[in-house]
C-alpha cells in the first residue's frame, strides 16, 4: 500500500444480520462435536454441527452474492474483499509454515540427534544406540531399541523418489503434473473471462475442477498404497507423521479449493454471474488455487524429492 489515501464513497454497511450468530452456534456444535467424537463419545453432534456450518456458510456466501448482484458493492467494498482474501491466504501460508517448520526441524535436528550425530548426538549414543540418522527413517528409535523389524517397507515403492528410472510410474510426479496444469488452466479461464468469452471460460474452469478431483483421487490411491502395502501409516514414526500431515492438509485444501472453484463454475453456468470486470468470486478462488499449487511445489520438493 502506498501512503496515498483511498477514495471514499458511501460504503455498504449491512444492517443487522442473524447469519453470524447462527454460524457461531453451528461452530459450537461442530467444535464440541469434534472433541466428543475424538474422545469416543459419538459423532452425532459433530455431523449435525458440520452440516449446520456448511449450510450457514453457503447461505452467507449466497447473501453476499445477492447483495453484490443488487449493485450494493462499491469499488471500495471490492477492495476490501481483495485485501481480505489476500490476508486470509497469508494466514493459510502461516499454517503450512508451522508444518514445514516441523518437518525441517525433525529432519535436520531431532533425527540427527537421535541418530547420535550433531551437537546433541549424545542422546543417540546413550539412549538409542542402534538408531541411525537417515531420512526417511524406516525404523523408529523405539523399534531400534527393542530390536524390532521395521514395519515400513519403505519409500522405495512410492512415496520417495529413489531413482530416475522409476519416475514414470511414480504417482507424485503425476500429481504434480495434474496440479501444475490445473494452475495453467485456471489462468487460461481467467484470461477468457477478461475477454468476456464465457464459453471458453466455462470450459477451462470445468477442466480445472476436473483436474482438482483427479488429484484428490490420485492422492487417495497413494494413501491406500501406503497403508495397505508399504506399512507407512500415521503412527509409524515421524516419517509417516510428517508425510501424512503435510500431504493430508494439502489434500484437504485441494478439496476445499476444488469445491470453491466448482461453486464458481455453477455460478457462471447456472446463474450467469460474472462479467469481464466483476468477477471477484472467481478471482478469489483462483488465487486460492495458485496458493494450493505453490504449497504442492514445496511439498514435492521437501517431502518427496529431497
Amino acid at each position: 500500500m502506498s501512503s496515498e489515501t483511498v477514495g471514499h464513497q458511501k460504503y455498504y454497511v449491512p444492517e443487522k444480520s442473524s447469519i453470524p450468530i447462527v454460524f457461531a452456534i453451528a461452530t459450537f456444535f461442530a467444535g464440541m462435536g469434534a472433541a466428543n467424537a475424538i474422545t469416543g463419545n459419538g459423532s452425532t453432534m459433530l455431523i449435525a454441527g458440520m452440516v449446520a456450518v456448511v449450510f450457514t456458510m453457503a447461505y452467507w456466501f449466497a447473501t453476499v452474492t445477492r447483495e453484490s448482484m443488487a449493485g450494493l458493492d462499491t469499488p471500495q467494498l471490492n477492495t476490501s474483499y481483495v485485501y481480505g482474501m489476500g490476508w486470509f491466504i497469508f494466514s493459510e501460508v502461516m499454517f503450512f509454515f508451522a508444518f514445514f517448520g516441523a518437518l525441517f526441524y525433525i529432519r535436520s535436528f531431532s533425527i540427527t540427534w537421535l541418530g547420535g550425530e550433531g551437537a546433541k548426538g549424545i542422546a543417540g549414543d546413550l539412549l538409542w544406540p542402534e538408531f541411525e540418522a537417515v531420512w526417511p527413517p524406516m525404523i523408529t528409535p523405539e523399534q531400534s531399541l527393542l530390536g524390532d523389524q521395521a514395519t515400513t517397507v519403505g519409500p522405495k515403492e512410492n512415496m520417495y523418489l529413489h531413482s530416475l528410472s522409476g519416475a514414470l510410474t511414480w504417482l507424485p510426479l503425476w500429481n504434480t503434473v495434474v496440479l501444475l496444469s490445473s494452475s495453467a488452466t485456471v489462468h487460461v479461464a481467467h484470461m477468457a473471462l477478461k475477454e468476456n468469452n464465457r464459453k471458453r471460460f466455462n470450459f477451462w474452469l470445468g477442466i480445472t475442477v476436473l483436474l482438482a478431483f483427479i488429484f484428490v483421487i490420485l492422492q487417495a490411491v497413494e494413501y491406500y498404497e501406503a497403508y495397505a502395502h508399504l506399512g507407512l501409516t500415521l503412527s509409524s514414526g515421524v516419517y509417516g507423521t510428517t508425510f501424512f500431515m503435510l500431504t493430508g492438509f494439502h489434500g484437504m485444501h485441494v478439496l476445499i479449493g476444488g469445491i470453491f472453484l466448482l461453486t464458481q463454475l455453477v455460478r457462471s453456468t447456472g446463474y450467469n454471474h460474472f462479467s469481464d470486470k466483476e468477477h471477484f468470486g472467481f478471482e478469489a478462488a483462483s488465487w486460492y488455487w495458485h496458493f494450493v499449487d505453490v504449497v504442492w511445489v514445496c511439498l514435492f520438493l521437501f517431502v518427496y524429492i529431497l
Binding site: 500500500m1 459450537f28 467444535g31 472433541a35 523408529t140 514414526g237
Partner: protein, 527 residues
Amino acid sequence: MSAVVENHNHDDHHHGPAKGFMRWLTTTNHKDIGTLYLWFSFAMFLLGGAFAMGIRAELFEPGLQLMDPIRYNQLVTMHGLIMVFGAVMPAFVGLANWLIPMQIGAPDMAMPRMNNLSFWLLPVAFTILLSTAFMEGGLPGFGWTFYAPLSTNYPNVAFFVFAVHIMGISSIMGSINVIVTIMNMRAPGMTLMKMPLFVWSWLITAYLLIAVMPVLAGAVTMLLMDAYFGTSFFDAAGGGDPVLFQHIFWFFGHPEVYIMILPAFGITSHIISTFSRKPLFGHASMVYAMVSIAVLSFVVWAHHMFTVGMPLAAELFFMWATMIIAIPTGVKVFNWCATMFKGSITYETPMLFAVAFVVLFTIGGFSGLMLAITPADFQYHDTYFVVAHFHYVLVPGSIFSIMAAVYYWLPKWTGNMYDEKMGRLHFWLSFVGVNVTFFPQHFVGLAGMPRRYADYSLQFAEWNAVSSVGAFLFGLSQLLFLYIVVKTVFAGKKATPQVWDGAEGLEWTVDSPAPYHTFETPPKVNG
C-alpha cells in the same frame, strides 16, 4: 436477507440500534460489537481474576490448604488462558472496534457481519473450554503453554484444542477486519503517517496476529494428532522431539506477548499527549519503534527455552536478538518522557494510569532484559522472577492501559463523565495493590521459588503472604472499577464532544455519546 437489500434502497442509514436482546446477537455496528467485546473481556477478567485469587489464597502459606495440586494446576492454567485469550486480547479488540473507525473517519469496520462473528466465536470457544470443568478429568492443568508430552497424555485435551482453534479463527477474522479497515477506509487526507498511534499500533498488532495465530493452530493440531492419532511429532520414540513443540508454541507465543502490549503503547501515547497538552514527541519514531519491535518479535522466541539445551550458537543468537528489543522500546519510553517535558500537565485518572503504565511497564521491561541474559536465565527461568516479570508488563502494563483507555474514552462512549474522585481512588488502590502483589515475587523468584508450585518450602513464606495480601487488595479494587463504569453508563455529568482540553483526533469531533453511525460521509482531514 432481502430485508438488507431493501433497507438499502431507501438509502437511509440513520437507523438507531434494534430494540431488545436481539440487538446484541445480530448487530453489525462496530460500536455495539466493541461494547460486547469490552464487557466480555471484563467478565473474563473477573473470572480469571477469581482464579488468581484462588491461586494466591492457596499460596498464602506453605502447605495444601484449599485444594489438591490437580485443582491448583487447573487454576493456574485457566487463569493464564483466560487472562491472555479472554481478557487482554478481547479488550484490545473491543477498543479497536470502538475507536479505529472513529479515528480514521470510517463509517464502520470493513466487514461488519464478519466482525459480529469474530465476537460471538469467543463465547463459543470459552464455553467449550470451560465445559471440561463438568467432565471426568476436569479442566486442562498443563499450564497455559501446554507443553507436550504433558498435554498429549492429558484428559479432555481435545476440547482444549478445538477451543483454541475457534479462538484462533476469531482472532484471524478480527485482524483481517482491522487491516482491511485501516488500509481501505481512511478518510481522504489521512495518510498513513498521519494516522493516530492507536490505529498504527493496531495495524501492526493485526499483522502479528495474522502471522502467528495460524502457527498456534498448527501447534494444537499436532498436539491433537499426537494425543489421539498416534503421530510422533513430539515423541522421541517415534523420531520426534518434545522441544519441537516449544519452538512452534513460542514462535506464536512471543509475538503474542507483544500483541498484548502494542495497543497499550498506542493508548498511552494518546493519553500522555492529551494531558500534557502537547503534541506527542516523535510520532514517526514511535511508528518505526513499533514496527521494529514487531519484526524483532519473530526472531526471539527461543528466549523462553534457554534451558531446553539448544546448541550454543542458538542460545547466543536468541540472547542477542532479545536484547536488541530494548532499544526500540527505550525509544518509546524516552518519547513519552519527552512529551511530558515542558508540557502543562494535569493528572486525571486516565493520565494517572498512563504514567503508572510507563513506570511499571519499564520495570517489567528491565526484568525482561535480565531474563534475556542467558547464563542468568539459567537461574531465573521458571521461577517467580519470571512470574514477576510478566505480571509487571501485563497487569500494570496491558491491564492498566486498558483501564486508562476506558476512563479516557468512556465519556465519548456513554456521554457521561465518570466520577473523578472514585476514579482516582481506584487508581491508587490498584497501584498499591499491584506493587505489593508482584514486587515481592522478584525476591522469592531470585531465591529460587519455582513457578506452578502448589506448595513451597518455608523460606518463601513471608513474601508469599505479602503478595497474597496485595492480590486481595488489587482484586477487591477492581470491583470498584466495575461500580464506576456501571454508574457512568447510567448517570453522570454530561460530557462535551471535546471531553478533554488537550485531546486531538476525529473521535473528539463527534458528539458524546458518539452517534450510532458516525462518518457516513467521510470527514476531510487537513494536511
